[in-house]
């Protein structure tokens, strides 16, 4: 039985167990709690508590904001009949690269800093995949899976 893979996609992305709505609720809840304490003591004369409470809330909100900015980050490889499409999406950048499936080559090479990097490319052009979300072991595993998928279809 021949196996024909007509479409195949791998997506790597962070897991976010908190929705945006619940993030806002949580930060607001923490802000109300901290501000109640700060305002209470300020009314009693200890006003210096208030700026510290405010700073803390700003820090908490910023931490959640940073996490939120990265919540939609992903990298994906889509293998179609004739093409291999690499998508990279971050909050400051996004790119789509397309390669001829027949000519696409997968390689894992050690970098100067000692880490492995997974490249997909053809005709002298390459794209690194999985730089942010996966580790060395996963890159090597993913590379062998990709090679299999690309080879099996022809």
């Amino acid at each position: 039985m021949a196996i024909l893979i007509t479409d195949f996609k791998i997506t790597v992305m962070p897991n976010n167990s908190l929705s945006v709505k619940n993030t806002i609720r949580l930060v607001m809840g923490l802000a109300v709690m901290s501000m109640l304490v700060g305002i209470g003591f300020a009314l009693a004369g200890a006003w210096m508590v208030l700026p510290f409470a405010g700073l803390e809330i700003v820090a908490i909100a910023y931490a959640f904001y940073i996490i939120h900015l990265h919540s939609a980050d992903f990298e994906s490889i889509t293998i179609l009949d004739d093409d291999v499409i690499i998508e990279t999406n971050g909050y400051k950048y996004s790119s789509v690269e397309k390669f001829q499936r027949y000519w696409a080559r997968v390689s894992v090479r050690k970098q100067a800093d000692g880490k492995e990097a997974l490249f997909i490319g053809s005709h002298g052009k390459e794209v690194e995949f999985g730089r942010r979300f996966i580790n060395d072991e996963q890159r090597i595993l993913l590379a062998s899976q990709l090679k299999q998928k690309l080879n099996k279809s022809y």
Binding site: D7, N15, L26, E56
Partner: protein
């Protein structure tokens, strides 16, 4: 089209070696190890200080040191044990275990995690440096106000107070950083299927701890900053002569200080039930009841602060309110005790070292809780306030309830962390020596307090001699028995019998599905919780 989610975000792909690994690491296990190591070192430093205190108290009269130096030892011992030993130990466990327990590859904000740790060593230096400076004729030594910083003494004190104020600021920033990280991690990085009500109890304990820190650290930061401006910038927040109110400082300090007790204890209340269920080979009893009780205790802890200074003078309705609200904490705490005991009830129990510490912890912490009820009574407190009864009470809560709990956690998770089994026989000897010496140190102090011996004074009336002698001898036994603990940890880190992945037969939780020790990157494939 099939879509496969492989793993979570990773901030670090390679891991440097040598000193740079530890300076720059963002790996949760490395940072957890640093917290725990720092905590152990500071535990020994704080312990050495208390041996000096107990040596002075062996006999009435001034034997070894001047009263000023004695008071410095008292204050720095407390600050070190609370902020540099107990809190970092709990944070170390949080770093090590929370990602493992919730199926995350790391903490949500790894760089923040690194910064949070590296604020601790400078703060420890700030706390202890004034001792050294005094040897060279600079300043008059460390903070001598006790850990409470009460004005007017702290306003009039030497540079040790300034050093302590900056140390507290650094510790506060570190705590807030840790709290933010834990809140974000627990809310945003749980494995698919792990709802909040499926989180391990340790994660719950830490989540509530993080909320308490967020609520109270700004109050402490504000209070010590006002103290600093009173000392150097001519303000009169706490100076009655300038229209200020020294009692206001007590309100501010204990608004932080009382929840701080629970900040130290809640993480322990989180992992003790896990230890009990492991060695009872039974599911944890009353999971939901325990979670709700932890929340109730957390909420009550921020509204009971003034029971620490009933004798400072306040209106009768306020006295009654703080008395009854303090006593109300015993209700959810009783639920917890019931659940802990019921978890063990008719279980197939074995008594390895973590279980010995956990069971001993229940009994000894129970004594701490019950003597707290005595102090919550306004009428009784008038007699016991500032006596050795209070010293004995809070050591039952913080040494037995805090440090012995942490020791249970160390023995429980050490094989998972190192991949080696510790010396079980030595662990058991350590437990019995600690438990016996601890009781022999502090039971006499209950009697000393009831008889009227005041705390924070290096001399005492001759009638208190025998109890003080017993207490001092036992304190030295307690102190030196901790060297067994250190030896056992060091030998376990260096080698020993290989630990299995599950380590304990009855262990439950995601952390036990990983190898021992876990890989550098936890959960390279995301687990799903059913």
């Amino acid at each position: 089209m099939s879509t496969t989610t492989i793993t979570h975000d990773e901030e670090h792909h390679d891991h440097p070696t040598g000193i740079m690994r530890w300076l720059t690491t963002t790996n949760h296990k490395d940072i957890g190890t640093m917290y725990l190591t720092f905590s152990l070192i500071m535990f020994l430093v704080g312990g050495a200080m208390v041996l000096g205190i107990r040596a002075e108290l062996f006999q009435p009269g001034l034997q070894l040191m001047k009263p000023e130096f004695y008071n410095q030892l008292i204050g720095v011992h407390a600050l070190i044990m609370i902020f540099s030993a107990l809190m970092p130990a709990a944070t170390g466990f949080a770093n090590w275990m929370i990602p493992l327990q919730i199926g995350a590859p790391d903490m949500a904000l790894p760089r923040l995690n690194n910064w949070g740790f590296w604020l601790l060593p400078p703060s420890a230096i700030l706390l202890t440096l004034p001792f050294t400076l005094a040897l060279f004729g600079i300043g008059d030594g460390a903070i001598a106000t006790g850990w409470t910083f009460y004005p007017p003494l702290s306003v009039q004190g030497g540079i040790g107070v300034d050093f302590a104020i900056f140390a507290v600021h650094l510790l506060g920033i570190s705590s807030v950083m840790g709290s933010i990280n834990i809140i974000v991690t627990l809310f945003n990085m749980r494995a698919p299927g792990m709802t909040l009500m499926k989180m391990p109890m340790f994660a719950w304990g830490w989540l509530i701890t993080a909320f308490l820190l967020v609520a109270t650290i700004p109050v402490l930061a504000g209070a010590v900053t006002m103290l600093l401006t009173d000392r150097h910038f001519g303000t009169h927040f706490f100076s009655a002569a300038g229209g200020g109110d020294p009692i206001m400082f007590q309100h501010l300090f204990w608004f932080f200080g009382h929840p701080e007790v629970y900040i130290l204890l809640l993480p322990v209340w989180g992992f003790i039930p896990q230890i009990l269920q492991t060695f009872s080979r039974k599911p944890m009893y009353g999971y939901k009841a325990q979670v709700y009780s932890l929340w109730a205790i957390g909420a009550l802890s921020v509204v009971v602060w003034a029971h620490h200074f009933f004798t400072a003078g306040m209106p009768v309705p306020a006295l009654l309110y703080f008395m009854y609200s303090t006593m109300a904490i015993s209700l959810p705490l009783a639920v917890l005790f019931f659940c802990w005991i019921k978890t063990m009830w008719r279980g197939s129990m074995t008594f390895e070292t973590p279980m010995l510490f956990a069971v001993g912890w229940i009994i000894l912490f129970g004594i701490g809780g019950l003597t707290g009820l005595v102090l919550a009574d306004v009428a009784a407190d008038a007699q016991y306030h500032n006596s050795y009864f209070v010293v004995a009470h809070f050591h039952y809560t913080l040494f037995a309830g805090g440090i012995m709990g942490i020791m249970a956690g160390v023995y429980y998770w050490l094989p998972k962390m190192t991949g080696h089994m510790y010396n079980e026989k030595l662990g058991k000897v350590h437990f019995w020596l600690t438990a016996i010496a601890f009781n022999m140190t502090f039971i006499p102090q209950f009697f000393l307090g009831l008889a009227g011996m005041p705390r924070r004074i290096p001399d005492y009336a001759i009638q208190f001699t025998e109890f003080n002698e017993i207490s001092t001898i036992a304190a030295f036994a307690l102190g030196f028995s901790q060297l067994l603990f250190v030896y056992n940890i060091v030998m376990c880190v260096k080698g020993g019998k290989k630990a299995t992945d599950k380590v304990w037969e009855g262990a439950v939780g995601l952390e036990w599905t990983l190898s021992s020790p876990p890989p550098y990157h936890s959960f390279t494939e995301q687990p799903t919780v059913n």
